[in-house]
């Protein structure tokens, strides 16, 4: 047996969502409220400056690519965008319904393990099929959550 995977299985059992014992928001709200106004003003300016810088960098990148006349390679796109485009479920999906949350964690863990196994044995078709099944199950859960309203 491969102990590495056994250990991962045990760890997976611990990866369950935990609800806080009390409502943490009032304390957070108090802390936010108690922050000095001057500090908040500084933060506003910093955020504004960061936004302007971000837009400038983005415009620069787009401009350079446009001047190069080429299209961005597919691999440069965000993996989630690629998954969404290909109809595969997103890895960042977190169901709001508590009845689906544990299963979502488990499916993500299983997909991670299968991808690791595939990296070691890339010609194992059955691992690819198992991975595709877990993705279909994740899509099924997403549909259920959508139906939950």
């Amino acid at each position: 047996m491969n102990l590495h995977f056994e250990d991962r299985q045990k760890l997976r059992g611990l990866a369950q969502p935990v609800e806080p014992a009390r409502d943490l928001w009032p304390q957070i709200a108090t802390r936010i409220g108690s922050r000095p106004r001057a500090s908040q003003r500084r933060l506003h300016w910093l955020a504004l400056a960061a936004s302007v810088a971000g837009v400038a960098v983005l415009a620069g990148v787009i401009g350079i690519r446009a001047m190069q006349g080429g299209h961005a390679p597919a691999a440069a796109a965000h993996p989630d965008a690629l998954i969404a485009a290909s109809g595969r479920p997103s890895n960042h999906w977190k169901p709001t319904d508590p009845r689906l949350r544990g299963a979502a964690v488990e499916l993500r863990a299983a997909q991670g393990e299968l991808k690791q196994a595939l990296a070691i044995a890339p010609h194992a078709d059955y691992l690819q099929q198992l991975l595709e099944r877990t993705e279909r199950q994740q899509s099924h859960l997403q549909r259920l959550e959508h139906e939950a309203g």
């Binding site: 047996m1 491969n2 995977f5 056994e6 299985q9 997976r12 319904d97 009845r99 689906l100 544990g102 299963a103 488990e106 499916l107 299983a110 393990e113 299968l114 196994a117 070691i120 044995a121 010609h123 194992a124 059955y126 691992l127 099929q129 198992l130 099944r133 877990t134 199950q137 099924h140 859960l141 259920l144 139906e147 939950a148 309203g149």
Partner: protein, 307 residues
């Protein structure tokens, strides 16, 4: 304290008690007694979020619903005609299938349907028990409720997220899918397709034709005879696989593990070309069927001598 004060006190207390009683009565479960004519081979669809659902086949051409409707649910009705019937429990203020279920009490449904009807049951957390049915199709979907099927149907399909699935009857086509629930069937025959992520697959039966079993980390056990034209495919990543076959089984058996151990009463396993695992390619009897087992790190045991 004046003489009037005790009177006011008692009146207030009585009014409060009456009000509390009315509120409790409004929130209490409502008994269900519904009937509807049904064709012997009707399709019956039942939807309940939480509580429980028990369906029993009977020899009458009608559907009967008994039980208790949970507080906060809309009044229950049987809708449709004699060929297609629906029984749906919904929250009074909810939209969507899980429909505001946090504010709704559990509903208990005891449904009798013509035994040859086709059945479809959908629940969220309600366990489902189906007994005495022999129609062409039985389909059950649940999120966390367990599913027990004491049926003899052409096709049985069960789908859960975490609920266990238990087939205590027969089905020509048995299909089960779950994330963490276990799948069990003790008297299988025909074809079976069971897929889990971490749940166990424990199947036993007579001669099996097309079999497709898969798991990521759950264990798989199959004890069955091999039909003449059998095609079995069993895949696991880290779960162990155990097959029990009759000594006179007739099949070509191929098994591969990447790093798991491989033990077989048929043929002799050798070291794998692809990793530290093992490989088996052998013929049992005439080799009429095919059995293919793949495991990445789980162990594989193929035993003969099943009775």
């Amino acid at each position: 304290m004046s003489r009037e004060h005790p009177k006011i006190f008692w009146r207030t207390l009585l009014c409060s008690a009456a009000l509390a009683g009315t509120t409790l009565a409004a929130r209490a479960d409502t008994p269900i007694h519904l009937r509807h004519d049904a064709a012997p081979d009707a399709t019956v669809v039942i939807r309940n979020v939480k509580g429980d659902v028990r369906v029993t086949g009977w020899n009458q051409d009608r559907v009967q619903v008994e039980g208790n409707l949970g507080s906060g649910a809309k009044p229950l009705q049987i809708t449709g005609d004699a060929r297609a019937i629906e029984i749906k429990v919904e929250g009074a203020g909810g939209s969507g299938w899980f429909g505001n279920s946090d504010n709704m009490g559990p509903t208990s449904l005891e449904v009798r349907v013509p035994h040859a009807a086709s059945l479809e049951v959908h629940t969220v957390s309600a366990p489902v028990d189906v007994d005495g049915m022999d129609g062409r199709s039985i389909q059950v979907g649940s999120v966390s409720g367990r599913v027990h099927l004491g049926v003899r149907a052409g096709s049985v399909r069960a789908d859960t997220v975490s609920g266990d699935i238990d087939l205590a009857g027969t089905a020509h086509e048995f299909e089960a899918q779950t994330v963490s629930g276990d799948v069990q069937a003790a008297t299988l025959g025909g074809n079976a397709n069971a897929q889990t992520v971490s749940g166990a697959v424990l199947l036993r039966g007579g001669a099996m034709g097309k079999v497709n079993l898969g798991t990521v980390s759950g264990r798989i056990q199959l004890q069955a005879a091999v039909a003449t034209d059998a095609a079995w495919k069993i895949d696991s990543m880290s779960g162990d696989v155990r097959l029990s076959l009759p000594t006179d089984a007739s099949a070509r058996i191929k098994a591969d593990t990447f790093s798991g151990d491989l033990h077989s009463d048929f043929g002799k396993a050798t070291g794998s070309d692809h990793g530290p695992g093992e490989h088996l390619d052998t013929r049992a009897g005439q080799g009429s069927g095919t059995i293919t087992v793949n495991s990445f790190s789980g162990d594989v045991h193929i035993q003969g001598g099943m009775h």
